[in-house]
């Protein structure tokens, strides 16, 4: 198979991200023309249109970009780090604890009094999750004990979340919790962007620095250790980088599945299976896909507020089945 050259692939993915970003700015219930929309994006006047563009659509598009990028990048890093194509950003349990943190604020009613309590509690949950996983996996935690700790923490956070749902005082609170958990980018503000940006940026730097070490890890951790890789440091960067960026992403959007699993999986053959090359490709692919999905939920059912997490799972699961089917056929 002739695959496209690497710079060409990255350019194409970046172009896709740009198109999807602009589409995300242009699509919405308030019918604004293309030129009108873009003009109002920069206008300093306080018109209805400029408020829609600057305070509703712009943060939504930026969050689509940064959260998609986070999911794609961390998925690629975790698959490379765990040497397992089924790894995804939630595997370390951090998404679940972040989700539990936000659910608690909705349950207790703090979120209605103070809207930013949701992302703050999400980040707190992510931090608690990473501390718990590290403690359970031990200081010299092997890959296997790390995965097992992640499974255990996910199960615990899931149990606590259902307990909260069970005890919720009224059906509306339960409804709000469930809707939040489905994952969405609707009604987020620039404050959400600014609040999560430092965590995501720190996470991206940590994860991005792993590109070369992940290549050598292809030959196993013993071989990598004898090729100059500090395996313990690699593990810390992978865990803390995921906690910071994915924790921040989940605290804003709720859990959005399948992007971190499917995007690296689909793009791997296009980069010759080289982990370091997969990182930027998967980050761009994740951003493009999440932005596109967020446009799609607005186009398919503008009146019903279809949740983006529902859409990605609905499309992602059968797509993943097809991928398994295809790879099985290739092996025969």
């Amino acid at each position: 198979m002739n695959r496209p050259s690497y710079p060409l692939l990255l350019t194409a993915l970046a172009a896709l991200v740009c198109v999807a970003f602009i589409a995300s700015l242009l699509v919405g219930p308030s019918e604004l023309g293309i030129l009108d929309s873009l003009k109002n994006l920069y206008s300093s006047e306080q018109t209805a249109a400029s408020i829609v563009m600057q305070e509703i659509r712009l943060p939504r598009a930026i969050l689509g970009l940064t959260i998609g990028l986070t999911l794609g990048l961390s998925g690629a890093v975790l698959q490379g780090f765990l040497r397992n194509p089924l790894a995804e950003p939630g595997i370390l349990g951090i998404s679940s604890t972040a989700a539990f943190g936000t659910v608690l604020t909705i349950y207790s009613g703090i979120s209605t009094a103070f809207a930013l309590a949701v992302p703050i509690a999400g980040l707190g949950g992510a931090l608690a999750g990473v501390v718990l996983v590290r403690a359970m996996a031990g200081p010299t935690g092997s890959t296997l004990s790390l995965i097992l700790a992640g499974v255990a923490v996910t199960a615990m956070a899931g149990a606590m979340t259902t307990l909260v749902l069970n005890l919720s005082p009224n059906p509306f609170a339960a409804m709000e919790i469930v809707f939040w958990m489905l994952g969405s980018l609707t009604d987020r503000s620039m404050t959400h962007v600014w609040m999560t940006a430092p965590f995501m940026l720190a996470g991206w730097i940590m994860l991005g620095s792993l590109a070369r070490p992940l290549d050598t890890l292809t030959l196993g951790s013993d071989a990598a250790a004898t090729m100059g890789v500090d395996v313990k440091r690699l593990q810390n960067l992978a865990v803390f980088g995921t906690a910071a960026s994915v924790g921040a992403a989940v605290s804003v959007s709720g859990a959005i599945g399948f992007i971190g699993l499917v995007v690296p999986h689909v793009l791997r053959p296009f980069v010759g299976s080289v982990p370091s090359r997969l990182l930027p490709a998967s980050a761009l692919g994740g951003a493009a896909l999440l932005l596109a999905a967020d446009v799609l939920v607005r186009v398919i059912a503008p009146e019903r507020d279809l949740k983006i997490g529902v859409l990605t799972s609905l499309v992602g699961a059968p797509f993943f089945l097809w991928l398994i089917h295809r790879s099985r056929r290739n092996e025969l």
Partner: protein
């Protein structure tokens, strides 16, 4: 100069004592074969020398304390070929061999002519250059093994520790590999390899270390280490030992009969 120097090395895994009071040196110009029955502690000896497993005692790599060397410094002094032939992602053969240059390449440093030369020489030595573009999952077991040896050769460390490098290779490639290792030693490097094929070990190594139950039983030139009597005692096999065309031949042919009660 001693590339590897071990004094009073002991290692335990869980509660089992795997190695006890090991003393050995590997000097420039030596191709040391590490032989011994299954479970004698051969792989553990290699891994502890590389600080991959905890141990007590002294380990020096080119006169520096191995445990206090940062991983990158260590990787410039010793290369390792693990027994497990893991290739997690199906990269091309050429790219896999290039991984051996990782210790020499700081982040974002482009490939140097020296890198290129090391990779080409390693691929040629292991005869994998003919299928350099093929991806790893399209390789046979023996081809995969040769690619991984080429990767270790490309690292160009003065010392190479290899765990069963000949397993799964056809006779021609086994001999080619032993010859390559011997040439490395002749050029002033050191090689220590765990080997199960006693015939190859006797013929090609400059020195053999026989390990049994975590202790060194014999250490010296192959002829003095692999005697019929010792093979009977340590391996519980009858072996034919002879001279042929200027080198020793060792061929185990039967089990030692168990003594009647």
């Amino acid at each position: 100069m001693n590339l590897l120097s071990i004094r009073g090395l002991s290692a335990t895994i869980g509660k089992a004592s795997i190695l006890r009071d090991i003393n050995l040196d590997v000097a420039e110009g030596e191709f040391v074969g590490l032989v011994g029955p299954n479970g004698a502690g051969k792989s553990t000896l290699l891994k502890t020398s590389l600080c991959l497993l905890p141990s007590s005692g002294q380990i020096h790599l080119s006169r520096s304390d191995a445990r206090s060397l940062p991983p990158l410094e260590r990787s410039l002094r010793v290369a390792y070929l693990p027994q497990e032939r893991e290739i997690a992602w199906s990269m091309s053969v050429e790219r896999l061999v290039w991984l051996g240059r990782a210790p020499h390449r700081a982040a974002f440093r482009p490939r140097s002519p020296e890198d290129q030369e090391a990779v080409e020489a390693a691929m040629k030595a292991m005869e994998v250059d003919a299928f350099r573009q093929r991806s790893a999952n399209a390789l046979s077991g023996g081809e995969k093994a040769r690619v991984l040896v080429a990767r270790a050769l490309a690292q160009r460390a003065p010392l190479l520790l290899a765990d069963e490098p000949t397993a799964g290779l056809d006779p021609a490639h086994q001999i080619a590999l032993m010859r390559t290792f011997r040439d490395l030693a002749t050029q002033g490097n050191g090689v220590m390899a765990c080997l199960h094929d006693l015939g190859l070990a006797a013929r090609w190594c400059t020195r053999l270390i026989l390990l049994a139950d975590g202790e060194i039983v014999a250490d010296g030139v192959p002829r003095s280490v692999l005697t019929s009597e010792r093979l009977r005692k340590v391996y519980k096999v009858e072996a034919y030992c002879a001279e042929h065309k200027g080198g020793p031949i060792v061929q185990p042919y039967d089990l030692v009969p168990t003594e009647a009660p």
